[in-house]
Symmetry: C2
Subunit: 409 residues, 2 copies
Amino acid sequence: MTAEIIAIGTELLLGDILNTNAQYLSRQLADMGISVYYQSVVGDNVDRLEKTIQNAMNRSSIIITTGGLGPTTDDLSKETIAKVLDLPLEEHEESKQRIIDIFNKMGKQMSSNNLKQAFIPKGAIVLDNDNGTAPGFIAKTENNIIIVLPGPPNEMVPMFEDKVKKELNKLNEGVIYSETLKLCGIGESKVAQLLEDVIENQSNPTIAPYAKNGEVHLRITAKTSDETVAIKLINEMKEKVSNVVGEYIYTSDDKTLEETLVSILQEKDLTLSIAESCTGGLLSGRIINCSGVSSVYKEGFITYSNEAKKKYLDVREDTLDKYGAVSEETAREMVEGLINNCKTSTAIAVTGIAGPTGGDEDKPVGLVYIGVYYNGNITVKRCNFSGNRQKIRDRAVVEGLIMLWNEVK
Amino acid sequence: MTAEIIAIGTELLLGDILNTNAQYLSRQLADMGISVYYQSVVGDNVDRLEKTIQNAMNRSSIIITTGGLGPTTDDLSKETIAKVLDLPLEEHEESKQRIIDIFNKMGKQMSSNNLKQAFIPKGAIVLDNDNGTAPGFIAKTENNIIIVLPGPPNEMVPMFEDKVKKELNKLNEGVIYSETLKLCGIGESKVAQLLEDVIENQSNPTIAPYAKNGEVHLRITAKTSDETVAIKLINEMKEKVSNVVGEYIYTSDDKTLEETLVSILQEKDLTLSIAESCTGGLLSGRIINCSGVSSVYKEGFITYSNEAKKKYLDVREDTLDKYGAVSEETAREMVEGLINNCKTSTAIAVTGIAGPTGGDEDKPVGLVYIGVYYNGNITVKRCNFSGNRQKIRDRAVVEGLIMLWNEVK
């Protein structure tokens, strides 16, 4: 069973928006064991869309489209697909009522255009839209299944998760069950090397490593006739993997690295303070993206200048003169300043050269010192990151998270 | 003249990477007045790639491919395209020498596979790769121009900029010249409404508004036989636009909003201090992404807790009790604290409810107060942002930048 994803919208062909829907759907289908052979993008143009759909029906059994379900006359996906399938459009009473209710709730005037969204090809399965006015649908022909979804990711993704997955799983004649182990502090090639035996001998479940923002994710996918068996297969694989790279796995949940870290800090009743120089707030910004972080994170400093390092963290003039602002000694004193001034039980301090200027032979661009504190100990690490200013700062943020996670885990 | 973009690579079909190349190329071609009718993605598979190329040659005059030029046996783009075009591959001596030189410089052993990258279809224009080992090429047939580029964006983009644009401009029989005005503090629909006359009567230059991260970009594109004329046309259009929405335009350069702001602060010899609650460092993080910001930005605070607001910014207990941490009064006192403690000439303070919890009827999720200080005046603005936690925080960061820019511009 092969699939094809068609994104519909002139704004994609103008380069105004990025086709994240295609990536999301491809990943989801791969997890379900369905091979995607093509992705296409076509504009809001009846002729070209018609040809694209016909071409797809000839070469792929599952076709998923996104976009073109809006209320304006530009939005032609449904009309064109119904034409290709030779199905009349019929008003769907329940969808009509949902649309009217949404407008009433917003207290907005509904234009008659909006009711165009309640028309569905005859016989199709209607997919309610819990986050917008355009319903999706699934139409089946002798050889094809055509799944038509709205374009905005915040409407498309929940519709796929809650409604489409179930339908696709029925086709699979089996259960696809997938779990992701997230690792940090180790590179993708090292993971692949350590797990070479496991990866080469995989069949069911399959296992695949992916590098992502300084982390490595290992996706384990099992396919069986029975959920209990699938879970058992996955757990066995997780144990095999854990035996080799267990120390690097920070979660098998859907959590991010910062959420995992904040959870541990919450559980252990720890507090965190942060001082940042080159990362300039990005590390705190990422931690504070965790909802409920207020029990953990009290205060932080952006000490970009030497004056600020002295004033708020009591870094000694002498240290700055002798070793420089980017040095192990300064990083250590920044951490000490956090401990003394914030009475915190954990701390992270970052000082480095993000470039493009400011580096020299001794201290090149990309040199970053990161200090962490936990349980009475300060650890300072010297890092050499590559890339542009933004990339060096992002890598330093990830490394700071990893270092503290390593201490408190 | 219509174009089609084909991205080649199984990793795209697995959803492992996002097809940013298609967006970049679409945008570039739109700027040059070339219409992109299709984007496709196909895996590293000879049969399917062959069919995709043939299909594209039948329907589009310009075809741009990205990816599949690597040294491994998986990388089949060049071989397959040469086969479709019925051209033999020939070793290109200069490219061979470049590859050998690159390996020598890195001090790395070259595998014989790498020399596969020096083969080019007979008669094609070779595009040197200044950032990698795989050259690209342009092959012309009676009806088509096929432009074959490497997949990594850091190789593809410079190759397109430096080498491909020139070739495409030749086809255009004219000069395409494009400039972007960046606006902030106004929405896309408002810009479109105010400029309705200008937009409706456009022909040469064309003008198109795009919404982007809380900003609006206006792209002006002129097409003439002569660069001087193009620049004149663009300048006339810029003046027309400025007469209507000039107060919102922050740059016509390639600068970001934060770079524009930092430049103004540098020119006027001003300093900036920032205190953040719900944005938790993201605002400072964005400002500090500007290289050379050290003359402006000295210090900042992340005062997530009430204690930190009192300790570092002297926000009064009384104010927090009476009005709450998310209030105009608290935002104002946070700014005052920055002025007094940091002796700064400009300041921004942010306090808000980013959610998903913590909101109520009086103070809903998305309520953010932003205070700025310049030239003796403090201005506090009440904002109501929508979206999830991340989006509310991002919008608050942009609003903080806009507010200070409005004061100092």
